[in-house]
Point group: C3
Chain length 268, copies 3
């Protein structure tokens, strides 16, 4: 199994070309497209989606390409996760949170063996020329050691998709992703909020401070249906993160919320 995540966009043929390259080398590979509509150049968005998705994928080869540095000196890497998966992509942090969720990195290699690449390598499409063919060769049985020399794990570019400071009665975090429903993902886990304000109960009022001195009173809710349609709630999303949403609505559009906005949560 090979999964693909990119910011290539589904109108353009780039993602399909990666499929073509893969099935040309490994005709029996099964491919799951995680997303090709990641915001352009948004490494953290891509890292977040991998963090969400990889635990639900079978053990396999995971190719991720959000690569603003394509054609520069940034390294192409392959990392082996404890669960047995191999993650392939640029060394810009993109692969790190997903690898963490698969038990952490147990080995990292520089992708350097040109015998596993396409014969012609361009400066702008390493997804096609390097990452996909390497993934396909691994799926077809090539040993990971063949891709290139081992590199220090400490040398890999780090990245975190969580951002939470647990204080006494207060949790400071920020918006890390707005999904297609307009639900607002925060960079904190439910356990962070419990650490800050104590035990949570359905309907418990919380006070959220946003940028520009905006304040919002929103209940903690165990499910969307706990509040009326259109009403806001803070809840634990299906990945254990804190999330701010309107029941059957789009709170991000309603309140003009976006990535990076700081959010401070207290008991109301």
């Amino acid at each position: 199994l090979i999964t693909l995540l990119t910011d290539f966009g589904i109108r353009d043929p780039s993602a399909a070309i990666c499929h073509g390259v893969i099935v040309s080398i490994a005709p029996h590979a099964e491919i799951v497209d995680i997303s090709h509509e990641v915001r352009k150049y948004a490494i953290r968005d891509g890292a977040l989606l991998l963090w969400c998705a990889l635990p639900y994928m079978p053990i396999g080869i995971h190719v991720a390409v959000i690569d603003p540095g394509v054609g520069t000196a940034r390294r192409p890497i392959a990392v082996l996760a404890a669960r047995g998966d191999v993650l392939i992509g640029p060394d810009n942090g993109l692969l790190m949170p997903g690898a963490d969720r698969l038990g952490g990195i147990v080995a990292a290699r520089l992708i350097e063996n040109r015998e596993l690449w396409l014969p012609i390598v361009t400066s702008s499409f390493h997804g096609r020329d390097i990452f996909s063919p390497v993934a396909a060769h691994l799926a077809a049985g090539t040993d990971l050691a063949t891709v290139g020399p081992q590199i220090e794990q400490a040398s890999l570019v780090p990245l975190s998709v969580l951002a939470a400071r647990v204080g006494d009665g207060v949790l400071e975090t920020q918006i890390v992703y707005v999904d297609t429903f307009g639900n607002v993902k925060l960079g904190a886990l439910t356990s962070d909020l419990v650490g800050a304000v104590g035990r949570l109960a359905d309907g418990m009022p919380l006070s959220l401070q946003l940028s520009g001195r905006r304040r919002l009173d929103v209940p903690w809710a165990t499910t969307f249906g706990s509040v009326a349609p259109g009403a806001p709630l803070v809840y634990e999303d299906s990945y254990g993160r804190l999330c701010l949403a309107d029941n059957q609505g789009d709170i991000a559009t309603r309140l003009g919320l976006g990535d990076g906005e700081p959010v401070t949560i207290r008991r109301a």
Copy 2:
């Protein structure tokens, strides 16, 4: 074969996660994505797409998740259609028109057996936690009876994707879907229009009354090419429905038409 239809959006990883869950349980399942871009929470839109698509799918398991009531008391159900397909999703009407097109429902079961679910079930992602794993187990050979107890068909939430009143010389219907070309699907079949105004012939003038006293003179046409590029036509779409379109244009945008708009058709 398993098909998937959701409003999850293709940017987010949710639909891919359903793939991952399915192939983890049933590695040999073939998956066809009917759509993951159904308008958010639009149960009737999803029902319409199933109504269109399912007759062209091989007999299989069809998972549909447009589920504004996720986490509430709405029932997760599996229904067996006369053709031999199993439809899986929330009991909110979504599955009903598609099941009709497959010969009607011959049995319905409550999805209740937690052994077929993921070990942890969240309140907001039953597509991943309940519907996909149940579908995968069925595809892998588990008997439908295992999912849970039989329930009364009469107890299922009804839904119709057609809305037509055939009068003497007049057909009253409404817009039920605007497709990505901007073509406007009406909730009536060609046979309804024939019942109202008699036999149709290429070029026959029709008079359409829309909301706000707007009137439109549009010919009946057997094909787009019967009218000039940019000109409107009423025609039978490839599913037998009445449809209003501009040849090579986008009539919905041009006239500001949307779902639910009443449309009355007479002979001009």
Copy 3:
């Protein structure tokens, strides 16, 4: 292997229905979706995407449907390319550039044998009723000669995705496609520019003339990273074409550039 390229849009079920039709006839066919988000009715856009994608696909059957003339007298065709692929679609030029890239057309046939079509053929969805089932039958082993009589290659509607006039010190071309990054693809190859202005070197200044007397000084660059983030560059894209872009930006939106815009390039 069967590939699909259409302007059907991914919200609507049409592309999925083609999958369903294909796997009903050829259960073991592997399907790669090149794109279903081609701009509506944009035959040249679709032709360009095939031109890019087909060389990276395994030898197979390639179905393309951008078909503003559906239901009129335009011919449904199947062409055999020198590489061994069969391209299937309407005779409106869509298939020509892709076939060129696969070595050129060695035979062309009119799709006429109704035994390979769906039993009911509508006037608006030949992708489902004609092209997909014919492709599936071919994938399942039916001989190409069965689809219908041979036709003259000279009778096929021509189409070119390149548009370049190489002068002495000047290259006249035009914008042929804007990709999802906002990168602007020109209808000329790097060899055309070399023919006009001589040998290129990283950082060499070029002068671009756009419509409305707009002039742009942009360097030739061998990779995005040769210029600062946000800065423009002219480079060879991964298919050998000239391309105008902002490093990590969207030049098409910044400068309001679109299809068909004339572009003249000189040494600055």
